[in-house]
């Protein structure tokens, strides 16, 4: 109680027609009271009318039912192919049995193992896809909750998020902290922002490092590689690895199908934001490229490839991150590009970790 009395401010009322009271024009809170020197000892700054929150998005309407002939076609075709493969397999094993019994047993064992492994792979793919879907859903829900400031929904999202990131050991402390806040009365949007700061903060840092490292690798290899084919391959493999690492980092564990899906989203995202990004970074890009190209054509190409990789990495972060960027700053190409063009200075203390 003592700390309350020490910080508690007494109530006060000021007549606006009092000569001591100055009514300042309405302005944003941060600059309130700037005109204190203008006259009276008390300055009243009305807050601007608060902006209305965005309208709540309607829950998606159930789509008009049309018979899914496409699905039917593909399912039926898939069934036929599987049946055919099964037939081939059994015929093969039967043939082997006809030759010699031990051959037949070996064939049957191999067949069973193949089947079991295939099932396991499929299960993992499905699991990975489900996790990716989960990420997308969380993003959409969080965006809506940020707009509507809905506390119940925000709580549900944060709970889901905690469950989703359960396997990330680095976040154990942040998870516990956040879990203790979930039941408290915090406005919905604030709860989401809190979750973002706690859970996404450390991961963002790591993600940024990964992207920078990959970009750097690409630019160096491009600059020194003897053939165009080699560096094209290298860029491709590097991009795939980068997207995969970022997805892993944020909690999605994509398999092959998942990776394809993720890549599609990343490319779509790049196409979508390409126009916007052009405004702020194209000049920079061209400038960097231009100066580097003046020095050496290979070097310029290396810088360009590195920048493209960084751009891809940033898009991948947006896609793989379960929460939209609201409380934390969105990583910008500029941050990474500076790193990239500056190369390694002698006093750069962290090259070892960046190579990991």
């Amino acid at each position: 109680m003592t700390n309350m009395t020490s910080r508690h401010r007494k109530p006060a009322a000021f007549r606006l027609d009092d000569p001591d009271v100055v009514l300042a024009p309405a302005q944003a809170e941060g600059r309130a009271g700037a005109g204190a020197a203008a006259g009276g000892s008390i300055v009243v700054t009305p807050a601007p009318e608060p902006a209305l929150p965005a309208a709540a998005p309607a829950p998606p309407a159930p789509s008009r039912r049309r018979f899914p002939f496409g699905t039917l076609f593909w399912s039926a075709l898939g069934g036929l192919i599987v049946l055919g493969l099964g037939l081939l397999g059994t015929q093969l094993v039967e043939g082997l049995f006809a030759r010699a019994e031990w051959l037949g047993i070996l064939g049957a064992a191999c067949g069973t193992l193949t089947l079991a492994a295939l099932l396991a792979i499929l299960a993992r793919e499905v699991f990975g896809l489900a996790r990716l879907k989960n990420i997308e859903k969380l993003q959409v829900r969080a965006q809506a909750a940020l707009a509507t400031d809905d506390r119940q929904e925000a709580r549900a999202i944060v709970r889901d998020l905690i469950a989703f990131e359960r396997s990330e050991p680095r976040l154990a402390r942040a998870r516990a902290m956040l879990a203790s806040h979930v039941e408290e009365i915090i406005d919905g949007a604030d709860l989401i922002r809190l979750a973002e700061r706690e859970l996404m903060g450390p991961l963002d840092e790591e993600a940024r490092r990964s992207v920078a490292a990959a970009a750097k690798r690409v630019s160096v290899v491009t600059a020194i590689s003897p053939r165009a084919l080699v560096d094209m391959l290298f860029v491709l493999v590097n991009a795939i690895l980068l997207v995969r690492r970022l997805a892993d980092l944020y909690g999605g564990r994509p398999g092959l199908l998942g990776l394809i899906r993720l890549f599609r989203h990343v490319v779509a995202h790049l196409a979508l934001t390409g126009g916007m990004a052009a405004g702020d970074s194209l000049i920079q890009q061209m400038l960097g490229h231009g100066i580097a190209a003046k020095l050496s054509a290979r070097l310029g190409e290396g810088v360009l490839n590195g920048l493209l990789t960084a751009r891809l990495g940033l898009a991948a972060i947006e896609v793989a991150r379960p929460l939209p960027f609201a409380a934390l700053p969105r990583p910008l190409l500029g941050d990474l590009a500076a790193d990239l063009i500056a190369r390694r200075k002698p006093d750069d203390g962290v090259p070892a970790s960046e190579q990991s």
Binding site: A12, F14, V21, A47, E49, P59, P62, Q152, I185
Partner: protein, 491 residues
Amino acid sequence: MLTRIQAIAEEARLAARAILEFGSHLLHPTVRLGVTGLSGAGKTVFITALVHDLMHGARLPLFEPLASGRIARARLEPQPDDAVPRFEYERHVDALVKNRAWPESTRRVSELRLVVEYQSLSGADRTLTLDIVDYPGEWLLDLPLLAMSYREWSAQALKLSYEEPRRRLASRWHAHLAALDPEAGEDEQAALTAAKLFTDYLRACRDARYALSLLPPGRFLMPGERAGAPAFTFAPLALGGAEPPAKGSLRAMMERRFEAYKGFVVRPFFHEHFARLDRQVVLVDALAALNAGPAAVKDLEATLAAILGCFRPGRWTLGSALMRPRIDRILFAATKADHLHHSSHDRLERILAGMTEQAIGHAKFSGARIDVAALAAVRATREATVARGRERLPSIIGVPAAGEAAGTEVFDGSTEIAAFPGDLPEDSGALVAGAEPFRGLSAGPAREADYRFLRFRPPPLEPTGTGTGSVTLPHIRLDRALQFLLGDRFI
């Protein structure tokens, strides 16, 4: 034994009506929205604003059906109960817009039916009927009496009246009580005097300086048309042993009247309005209690706990809909949030959640959904920052009602002021449990109080077209409240 049979009979009656209503609700989906709150909590304003906003499509961005344009229109319809007066929506809006005055205190039950036409998410045209009931908040105080005997109530009322600050206010009644022998013969004059002094004491407790709320029986404060009937002429007595009262004694008479009061007044009210609600919003004026002091806050807490004990929260099931209607969503709302800067709303919500902790736990356990919000159905103020020296006070600007006083100043109802009401504590428990409770108006002179929440007049509202229908009522979080209470019924 008698009470058991009574209880069973009641349940049967409720179940019978529930089955009948279930049938009609299949054809016309209906929501009975209970707007509960002690007197002065703002029930009438809440209902008026809700009806106005739905009918005229106000700015409710977070109320999805309206914001996304799925609500085609809402209209008033004749209410189902012919014996109950109509809620005078038009008069209340007129008062708000033309005279800039809040609706006067409610004196009787009234009802309103609103039919909302909307298109469901799948595209079908539907209607939803909304039945809303308004009643004097004082009557709520009677609900806990249903579970009490005269002896229990007497003991509780006496014990309360000996606590500060009630003790000061009850001294005249206490003097009369000391001279009264419960076992003496029936004496109408003694009963009349006791009832009058007891009522005076209750009235005094309700003064804004004390703002106490646990003051049953509620009809003593707001008697309606039956004032003076024997069922209204009783008072607690100092009772000794547990033996049954002698026939013809004063005590037997009081006991009889207490039971009559319960039977004729409280029980019908409970049946007609409380036992059949689907959704519930509990409006609480926590600011008046904070104005008055820790005693008022504690009192409010006890009152809320007792009243909420009468509700029947629970998840909706077919069985419950048929046999025993239950409330499946409850919103606890701290009203008059416009009397505070928005940066304090979280703290106000926390204080309210702390006050209703028991009720929230009970309702959650039974499966009902609960939310807490600080809201203002009609927003009367603007926000501002006051710079005084190096201090920055998050304040509000508005016109205080005539007669409101802050410090030494009394306002005339036309001056605009900027007011800083005092910092709410971070930890709601510190309000009453702390080693050094805060000072309210009941403790001493007004200038020493830790909080001062002034009552502001309604805002100046400019109609954009003709008539009061074109006026948009500003609000705080009313849309979120509606989304929580009704959003799922518009799917």
